[in-house]
Structures are given as structure tokens and as C-alpha cells.
Amino acid sequence: MNTVQQSEQAFDKKDSKLVISHIIFAFVALLIGGIAGLLQGLVRSDMIQLPAGIGYYQLLTAHGVLMALIFTTFFIIGFLFSGMSKTLGGKLLPRARTLGWLGFIHMGFGTLVATVMILLNKATVLYTFYAPMQASPFFYFALVFVVVGTWMSAAGMIYQYRYWKKEHKGETTPLTAYMSIITMSLWVIATLGVAVEVIFQLIPWSLGWVEGINIMLSRTLFWYFGHPLVYFWLLPAYICWYVMIPKIIGGKIFSDALARLSFILFLLFSIPVGFHHQLMEPGISPFWKFLQVVLTFLVVIPSLMTAFSLFASFEIYGRSKGAKGLFGWFKYLPWKDIRFFAPFMGMLIFIPAGAGGLINASNQMNAVVHNTLFVTGHFHLTVATSVTLTFFGITYWLIPAMTGRKLTPKMHKLGRMQTWVWVAGMAMMSGAMHIVGLFGSPRRTAYSDYNGHPDAAAWEPYYIIMAVGGTVLFIAVLMMIYNLYKLFTLPKGYEEYPIGEVSDLAEKPPKLFERWGFWVSIVVILILMAYTIPVIDILNNPSGGSKGFVTW
């Protein structure tokens, strides 16, 4: 049992620095991405026209890259490093920390170059950079830096983990560290796909070394990465929900073994499912699409398990305090505690978010929503609310824990206000996106009245709601930046790094859960099963490669 130890000592200074650097970088990306988001909402509703020179799609590229790739990745790596330090020995090994800094520098450099290329209008290809649109080679090199940087950080965490294992033979790895290692393994296996796409396809082609590019192959490699990417965002939020939230409310982790099992299922089933993003595409046969749809549905199961565990830890806690009736325990939750409240709103929003995900993934039903604003509405619930609010919730205790400060009631209140504004803005923006998406309004599209076509005219009221919601959201971004600043000015003191305890002692997780060779082999088998034949098919495409186009 790892969890009993509750050292009152402050966080290691050198580790704090690494973690805080990641978090601040993430929030700078959030602020810039938020400015782009605000402008997008206003342009789409025809409320403003962008001043000369800036294009809608340039903003959208910046928004997608900075939010989906940079904000998330920096936050996640900073957060996971803090958890490794906390639960695996109290501080990072020098080599792990060095790898963390190397990773940070590479990712940071990559981000800067990519952002400059986007601002120079040399890479207006959106964050999915689909060929045969061809960005400047610098943009692709920048992506390589970001990805390689994350690998360095992953190596640092794995190094720390292996060292701990060696020193603690036969012991069970602390839950936080175990989950972090799964998250980073998932990430490394997933990014291999996009790395192959960028290094072997896009870079040689953008440098003019090869004439043509196999478009379907590049899309397939991208989505081999693109779906596990969303689980890379989600799993750190799940770490907070499984491990930290029970501690924050004063309860226990419902089941350690089941928590580990659900993470293993995520590792297994979140990769061989990329075709659910390519359901409307030619060149992949319906059988293979459907097979991956089935696998996609399997990855819902661990989320069903998670839902039960979370409610259970709430209910057990409430009942231990004397709650009565079916839902009486609800009242006993610490609603005023921002460390609980923000992630809780994230969990709540995950209910409609998950429902939307099932709809998107449902094979032929995807025709109703594919490339409409419904999809945009969906991931503003998943990543931009469930995950993002959870990350905010983490920030409220992580920064004080790192800097030796103490949360104040006033800080809790600021946090609650911020959360409400975010939820209100998102409800408007995402709600309108879902509805107008079902009516067919396309995503990734600047304002257009389609020559006065009545279908498009019917979309306009929803665009207004989107713009108002987006503006409210932007206010929430500013409030969060202010709160972040306030966190650094809190009074000196001690803020706990909340690591939950396991409720039943009997549940020692099976040894099998840490046989990495075994699990990775199964992942590889599943990937080969789901992809080999369709990829051979794609490679045999006789139409030849495509040259590059710059259409912006």
C-alpha cells in the first residue's frame, strides 16, 4: 500500500520548477488559443470581419494546434511528472528530471516554430494537416520537435518507474504512477503513427525529395494517432477522478484493481479504432470500418466502469457521514471546494459528451454528423470541458503544493465563479453547435450564407448563440488566467497533494497487471489485426501519389 504515507514536507524545489514551467506554458497556449477561439465565434456569426491579412483558417489552425496539441500535452506532462515525483520516492531522479527538461525544451521550441509558421500563413493546414495540402517543411519539423520532446519526457517517467521497481521488488506500483505509465505508453505507441507520417511522408515530400504522397495512407496514419490522442487527454483527467477526487472529498478509492483494469482496457482498445474518423472515406472497405467500430464500442466499457466507481466513492463517503435515501449522499459532497467542484462539473459534462461520442462512432449514422458542427460541439464538451475543467481543478491545488502556499476560501470562490462561467458559456456554444450540426452546418467553415440558400439562413440564429457563448467562454479563460496569477500570490503554507487511499485491503491487484511485455504484445496484435489488410489495400492504390497544393 503506497498511499498511507502523507509527508508534510514541501515538494522538491527542482521538481516544482519543472512542473510549473509546463503548467505556465500550457496556460499561455490556452490564452492565445482562447483569443483565436473568440474571434472564430464572432467571424462565424458574421459579427466581425478580420482585419486585413489574418484569415479565418489561420486562426483556426492556431486554435486547434495550441488547444488540442499544446495546452493539453504540456499540462499533462507537467502533471504526470508531479505525480511520479510524489508517489515514486518523493522526488525525481536527476536523470528523469534532465529528460523532463530536455523534453520541455524540444516541445517548447517546436511550439514556437509552429506558431510562427502559422502566423506567417505558411501552414494554414489546420491541426490535422491533411495532405495534399502542403505546409512549409518548417511546420512539419516543428511537429517532430514537439513529438520527440514528449518521448524524452516519457523516457524520463519510465526511467523513474523502473528505478522504483528495482528498489521495491515485489511491491505494487502506486496507482498514480501506474496510470501515468499507461498514459505515456499509450502516447508513445500512438505517436509512432504520426511520426511515420511526418518523417517518411510529409517531410520528404514538402522538401521536394519525392514527387507524390499517398493521401489515404497519410490520413490513416494520422487517425491511427488521432483517436488515442483523445484518450491521452482523457486519462490524466481520469487519474484525477480515480485517485485525487476520493481523497479530496474525504473518502476512499472504490477499487484499486478495477481502476487498473480500466486503464489496461484503454491501452488495449483506444488505438486500433482510427477508422471511426474515416467512416465517410473511400478506399477502406465497410467490413474493416465496422470491425473498428466494434473495437471503438469496446473502449466504452472502461468508461462505464469509471462512472460506477466514481458514483460509488461518492455514495460510500456520503453514507459514512449518515446520508439517507437513494440520493441523500449527494448533499455531503464538498461543493464549495474548488478542487472537487471543477472536476465534478467536468464529470457531469462527460455524460452528454460520451453520448455524442457513441453517436459519432456509429458507422453509417456518422453520415448525419460527419464534418458538421455537431462534432465540434462534441469535443468542446470532451476535451474543452470535461478534461479542461479537470485540469483547472488540478491547477488549484497543484500550484500551491508546488510553491508551498495554501488555498484560501476566497480562492475557492474565485474558482467556483470561473467554473460556472465556463459551463454557462460552453452550454451555449456547444449546445448551439450540436443542434445546428444536426441541421447540417459544416464545421471548419468561415461565415457563408451559401448564396442566400434557405437552409443556411436557418442556421444563423444558432451562430449568434455560438458567438455569445464563445464570448462568455473567453471571459472564463481570462478569469482562469487571473486565478492562475492569484495562485502564485497565495499566503505561504502547506497545501496537500491529494492521493487517495484504497477502500478495501483485500484487493491487491493481480501481478499480471504489470507484465508490460504481455499487454504491449496484445496491443500490437490488435493493431495488426485492425490495420494490416486495409493498409495493404491502401498501399496498392494504383493512382500514384499526389503533388502538394497550397490553397490558402
Partner: protein
């Protein structure tokens, strides 16, 4: 690990073992949890069916 935390641990383990005995006999009351997840399941079914019906209607 220092002496005091070691002691704390054993103390907690005793408490937990006691808890555990109780919970093994009559499982903890999770009726509210069950009701909550079933509501969630109902929500998933309703939204999914709604869009599936929309799909069928639009199929021309």
C-alpha cells in the same frame, strides 16, 4: 519510511480490516450509485435512438 508513518499504517490497516469484514458480509449499500448509472444508461439509449431515427428518416 519513518517509524511514525509505519505505525500509522498498521493502525489504519486494522481499522480497514474491520471495515472490510463488515462489507464482506453485507455488501456496501450502492443503490444510489446503481440508480445514477442506470439514469446515465437511459440517457445514452435515448440520445442514440433519437439520432438513429433521424438517420432512418433522412435516408430518403
Amino acid at each position: 519510511m519513518s517509524q511514525t508513518t509505519e505505525e500509522m499504517k498498521t493502525e489504519k490497516e486494522v481499522v480497514r480490516l474491520k471495515d472490510n469484514k463488515k462489507t464482506k458480509h453485507e455488501e456496501v449499500n450502492l443503490k444510489g450509485t446503481f440508480a445514477s448509472v442506470m439514469l446515465l444508461g437511459g440517457f445514452l439509449i435515448i440520445t442514440w435512438l433519437a439520432v438513429f431515427i433521424l438517420f432512418l428518416v433522412r435516408n430518403g
